[in-house]
């Protein structure tokens, strides 16, 4: 089932490869159907998933490169389940949302998106380190092309920066993976890259530090954590709407997911030891991202920096290393995907109409586009974590978790709660309120039914998660607890004595 899910989009891409380029309509529909198919599969997976178990489910394992000990091993637990669900939801939305804006090279675009979906799903479901790395890096290429081909003026610079920056960080992870494998040969007596096997061997504390550092660097850039974030504003700004949506909603989660997936399993002691550092950077990110958002003049840059702030919360939750923090981090990952994805779609709606991202080019839009205004309002308050929306659930749990670990973390992070309103409402006011000063008021027509169709599921998720987060939390709690138990045991009884 998992393999079907992972490779369904790729199979769809192959199929679309045979469709002539000029049949754009058919390609669009095919692409959408494929992603919807993946969504159905993911929904079924969600339904079948047993939330009471903290282990891997639906595992599939088969040797891949036996001589090197590389296996094809996929599986889903509570953590990956949520992210797989998010991925499956976001992709059809992003595709549908780009129907209006991507009018050139539709086929290549659709292929890139489908390839990207496979890579992302694979990243979330891999349980073999090499398989994981393969998917992890495979994400870069379609994404860089999305930015570099369909992006705006400075796209080449942004694509290169995105690619090289994230890649530079992740190759060190590759070295660490190899090192783990080699250590595993010594300690397990077998050649394996299997995550679970390597986790069982119990890495000596002295080795955990450098190896975790290599992993953490790769993840931290992807998240991105301050001060490794500067690729993000450029990538977001230049990417086409769908690219931004995917980037924000799904790709950044790969970084946070990495921390949650590999930290407790492979490097429990190192994770525990570096939690204060992670938290510090996270808090700086929260406040810094928010403050910098406030003075942006480009809407997409503003949202990009808000991502830095929001993901700071996620990292803070992870650094808290308790149930609330981690659960909050997980929920916040989903929330950020939904809300920031929606924000980028909102910017996309404006951009499609006037081809400007400059805040100064707008003003009084609410009067012209009331439905759009309502959508924007809901998304903005969700992003600002207003209770009743999804954002609050995540931030509250994170703050609670952080508070329990160190009250100062929460006290400082709460500043982000305030600042988020400052920049979001500022931007909202500049764009939507005041007299109509937008440059091309005649072009600012309200949302079309297709665009509404893009937003409705996101808004539904905003409220669904806000009002009944247990639907998600219950799926992941057992997994999170198991991970925490691992850390506790490792810290209590250092494995290094072995």
């Amino acid at each position: 089932m998992l393999s079907t899910l992972i490779f369904l989009p790729l199979a769809g891409a192959v199929l679309i490869g045979f469709v002539p380029r000029d049949r754009e309509h058919m390609i669009r529909w095919l692409g959408l159907s494929v992603t919807l198919g993946a969504l159905l599969l993911a929904a079924r997976l969600f339904q079948l998933f047993d939330g009471s178990s903290g282990g891997m489910q639906f595992s599939e394992q088969t040797p891949w490169v036996p001589s090197l000990g590389i296996g094809y091993h996929v599986g889903v637990d509570g953590i990956s389940l949520l992210l797989v669900g998010l991925t499956a939801v976001i992709f059809p939305i992003a595709l549908l949302g780009s129907w209006g804006s991507i009018t050139e090279r539709v086929k290549a675009f659709t292929l890139a998106m489908l390839g990207l979906e496979t890579a992302v799903l694979g990243t979330f479901l891999s349980l073999d380190l090499i398989l994981f790395y393969v998917f992890w890096e495979a994400v870069l290429i379609p994404m860089a092309f999305l930015i570099g081909i369909w992006g705006s003026a400075n796209r080449r610079y942004a694509a290169i920066k995105f690619f090289l920056y994230t890649m530079a960080a992740s190759v060190l992870m590759l070295v660490a993976i190899i090192a783990l494998h080699v250590i595993g040969i010594g300690r397990l007596g077998e050649r394996t890259f299997d995550l679970q096997r390597l986790a069982e061997m119990g890495l000596p504390a002295g080795l955990q530090g450098p190896l975790f550092a290599a992993f953490a660097l790769a993840f931290a850039v992807k998240v991105p954590m301050w001060p490794l974030h500067t690729w993000l504003p450029d990538a977001h700004t230049e990417a086409p709407t769908a690219g931004s949506v995917i980037l924000a909603a799904v790709l950044l989660k790969m970084g946070t997911y990495g921390f949650v997936r590999f930290g407790p399993s492979l490097f429990p002691q190192a994770l525990a030891a570096s939690a204060p550092l992670i938290a510090t950077l996270a808090i700086i990110g929260i406040l810094y991202g928010a403050a910098v958002s406030w003075v942006q003049t480009d809407l997409k840059r503003l949202v990009a920096f808000s991502s830095v702030s929001h993901l700071g919360f996620v990292m803070l939750g992870i650094a808290a290393l308790n149930v609330q923090g981690l659960q909050g981090a997980l929920i916040q990952m989903i929330n950020h995907g939904v809300s920031t994805g929606a924000l980028f779609l909102i910017v996309g709606v404006l951009y499609d109409r006037t081809h400007s991202r400059a805040i100064a080019d707008y003003g009084g839009v609410a009067a012209l586009m009331p439905r759009f205004a309502a959508v924007f309002t809901i998304v903005a308050v969700s992003s600002a974590a207003l209770p009743g929306t999804n954002g609050f659930v995540g931030e509250f749990l994170i703050l609670l978790g952080a508070f329990r670990t160190s009250s100062w973390w929460a006290a400082l992070a709460v500043g982000g709660v305030v600042l988020s309103v400052v920049y979001l409402l500022w931007a909202y006011q500049q764009v939507m309120h005041g007299p109509v000063t937008a440059k091309h008021p005649e072009r600012l027509v309200d949302l079309t039914p297709r665009e509404m169709l893009v937003f409705v599921p996101l808004i539904a998720m905003i409220f669904a998660v806000g009002l009944y987060p247990r639907a998600l939390l219950d799926k992941s709690e057992a997994t999170v607890k198991a991970a925490l138990t691992r850390i506790e045991q490792a810290v209590a009884a250092p494995v290094s004595r072995r």
Binding site: K161, W231, V292, V295, A367, P370, G388, V418, P469
Partner: protein
């Protein structure tokens, strides 16, 4: 049990909101108003039903508070937040006040907004607000309360900025939200402390468990929550948003920024009285903040020219009284004042709205005057409101304010700190003066603009004012000794155990003093502002007019430096340092690449030289190893 209907109190406005929000634009304008009003009316009626049911349960031995869990909202580890309601005397009083006054204001709004093309959006917001406010007061869990707490803030933002094409309105809404958020952040931290110490956020459990907390935790949690309350209830130092909030439609000012939402802070303290009032040192802080705010706002109100701003500052001032009551360990008295204040302040605002309606949105008192004649009913209502707020018996304000001063005096007797009382008394005098001034400048004297042809508002607006006028005049009965203090007795059992006042103050004497001060104030005001005169009060006047320059101070000390800091971070730091470092790495590599390219000169002899160098190095290494 009919008490199970309590959720419907919430559901009606929610349905109203959905109706107006989803299909409102397709409804006839009048209809959307009536839908909204009907929803509130249904809510009010449900509240009455619940009240009657609640009355039945008040047999001895029965719980004073009935929790109605709905569903498990949020859980992680040991955190389990039940979304549920809490029905008790306090919440019922609040619900009735909110739905009652709210209903009147909804009806008024139908008339007021009759001409506005976006009325459906207005009523949708208004109903959403009703829902949020009711959620706030009915919440059985502090986190659920917080949901309402923030949602009312959102509604406030939306409604202040309802006429968002006016930059001032949009900015005011944003300011309100941001300032509230600052308080909310503190609130949130308070919540975290409570949960980490008590492992629950259930209000009943917190009430029961508060005594078990350490002094430090209790005080810190209480202070943080109180900080949240100062934001919502516009107390010093977070009061700055409320005067600006007057940019919203006047019924909104009446409902949200006078009668209901701003009292949420007071309600919060009453709700958690056992936490707040037993925490060491906290009551004094509350009382002092309240007293100072009351006095501060009253002085500022003295020199405002915008009628609604006068009323806004007076609201801040009156809220200060309520906090004095809380700080004086008399939450019931505070709630009493909350209720009477809701009556007379709503009345005053509606009257002001009526004036605006008549004068085509002119609200600057310097351009008003002599309206008593054309706007007879409005003027009458306004005068009743003035008398009530000034504390002239037998109008409602007198009883509640006097009760607070009495408790403040008792606090002084108990602790030796008479400052809250003294400030309260002084404020009472100033209140009488500035309210008289407002009435005189608006309705007395001669019309400032001869060309205006004011006309009285339609019945749909006058009737609610009438009802409120009756309540403002007679509402004191709820807490008057002569009437048997029904409200205080109703609240009493819930609140009593938290308080202990050692000695009883000389009640009659204090009442006399209050009356004398109020009368003096009215008299002086009458004398000073007769015939449309408005003495400037010199330097002090300007000081008052600018709100003691607090706004300017914030602007200069927090906002401007904050923006500068943010610009500095975004420019020199983010682009200039962090990003430049990243790009610098790229450029360094590019530079190396160019250098490496230049090594390749194209001359074979030089290639041979390079080869020889390599040979020497390698062979040299082997030879010398």
């Amino acid at each position: 049990m009919t008490i199970q209907f309590a959720p419907w109190i919430l559901l009606w406005p929610l349905l109203g909101w959905l109706t107006n929000g989803l299909i409102g634009r397709r409804l006839p304008r009048v209809l959307s108003g009536w839908v909204a009003a009907l929803a509130v009316a249904a809510s009010f009626a449900t509240a009455l039903v619940v009240l009657s049911a609640f009355g039945e349960t008040r047999a001895p031995g029965m719980s004073l508070s009935i929790g109605l869990p709905l569903y498990s909202w949020l859980g992680a580890g040991d955190l389990d937040v039940q979304a549920g309601l809490l029905v008790d005397a306090l919440s019922l009083v609040m619900v009735l006040t909110i739905t009652g006054v709210g209903l009147l204001i909804h009806v008024y709004s139908i008339g007021y907004m009759a001409e506005d093309p976006h009325a459906s959006r207005y009523f949708a917001y208004l109903n959403l607000f009703m829902f949020s406010m009711l959620l706030l007061v009915l919440a059985g869990n502090l986190l659920v309360l917080f949901v309402g707490w923030e949602l009312v803030g959102l509604c406030s933002y939306l409604l202040i900025g309802f006429w968002f094409t006016r930059p001032a309105a949009a900015t005011a809404g944003r300011k309100a939200f941001v300032v509230n958020r600052i308080g909310d952040a503190a609130f949130l931290l308070g919540l975290l402390i409570l949960f980490t110490s008590l492992n629950t956020l259930d209000i009943l459990k917190i009430r029961d468990g508060a005594a078990g907390l350490s002094d430090g935790a209790r005080a810190l949690a209480a202070l943080l929550l109180f900080a949240g309350a100062t934001g919502k209830s516009a107390q010093l130092p977070l009061h700055v948003w409320l005067p600006d909030a007057m940019e919203g439609p006047t019924p909104v000012s009446a409902l949200i920024h006078a009668a209901t939402m701003v009292t949420a802070g007071v309600f919060l303290i009453a709700r958690l009285d056992r936490l707040f009032l037993t925490a060491p040192g906290v009551p004094v802080v509350i009382a002092m903040v309240g007293a100072l705010t009351a006095f501060y706002a009253a002085t500022v109100a003295l020199r405002q020219h915008d009628l609604k701003r006068v009323l806004a500052y007076s609201t801040i001032s009156q809220l200060g009284y309520m906090f004095v009551a809380m700080g004086s360990l008399a939450p019931a008295a505070g709630i009493f004042h909350l209720v009477t204040h809701a009556f007379f302040k709503a009345l005053l605002f509606l009257a002001a709205g009526s004036v605006m309606h008549a004068m085509h949105d002119v609200i600057d008192m310097r351009r008003l005057g002599g309206l008593a004649r054309p706007l007879r009913w409005t003027a009458g209502g306004f005068v009743i409101g003035v008398l009530a707020i000034a504390g002239i018996p037998p109008f409602a304000g007198f009883f509640s304010k006097d009760l607070i001063l009495e408790h403040a005096f008792a606090l002084g007797m108990h602790t030796g700190n008479y400052l809250p009382y003294a400030l309260g008394l002084l404020t009472a005098f100033v209140t009488a003066v500035y309210m008289t001034r407002a009435a005189m400048l608006t309705f007395g004297g001669r019309p400032a603009d001869q060309n205006a042809h004011p006309h009285e508002s339609p019945p749909l607006m006058l009737w609610p004012m009438g009802v409120l006028a009756v309540l403002a005049a007679g509402g004191g009965a709820l807490g008057a000794q002569a009437a048997g203090e029904p409200l205080l007795r109703f609240l009493g059992p819930l609140m009593a155990p938290a308080m202990e006042i050692a000695s009883s103050p000389p009640a009659l004497l204090l009442a006399g003093v209050s009356i004398a001060v109020a009368l003096a104030g009215v008299l002086i005001g009458w004398t000073a502002y007769r015939d449309g005169r408005d003495p400037s009060l010199g330097v002090a006047g300007t000081f008052f007019e600018r709100g003691w320059y607090i706004n300017d101070l914030y602007e200069a000390v927090i906002v401007a430096p904050g923006k500068t800091l943010a610009r500095w971070l975004a420019g020199p730091i983010d682009l200039g340092l962090i990003d430049a470092a990243v790009n610098g790495v790229g450029h360094v590599f590019g530079g190396f690449g160019e250098a490496a390219r230049r090594l390749q000169t194209g001359y074979a002899r030089q290639y041979a030289l390079v080869l020889l160098i390599g040979t020497i190095l390698i062979v040299g290494y082997w030879v010398l190893r």
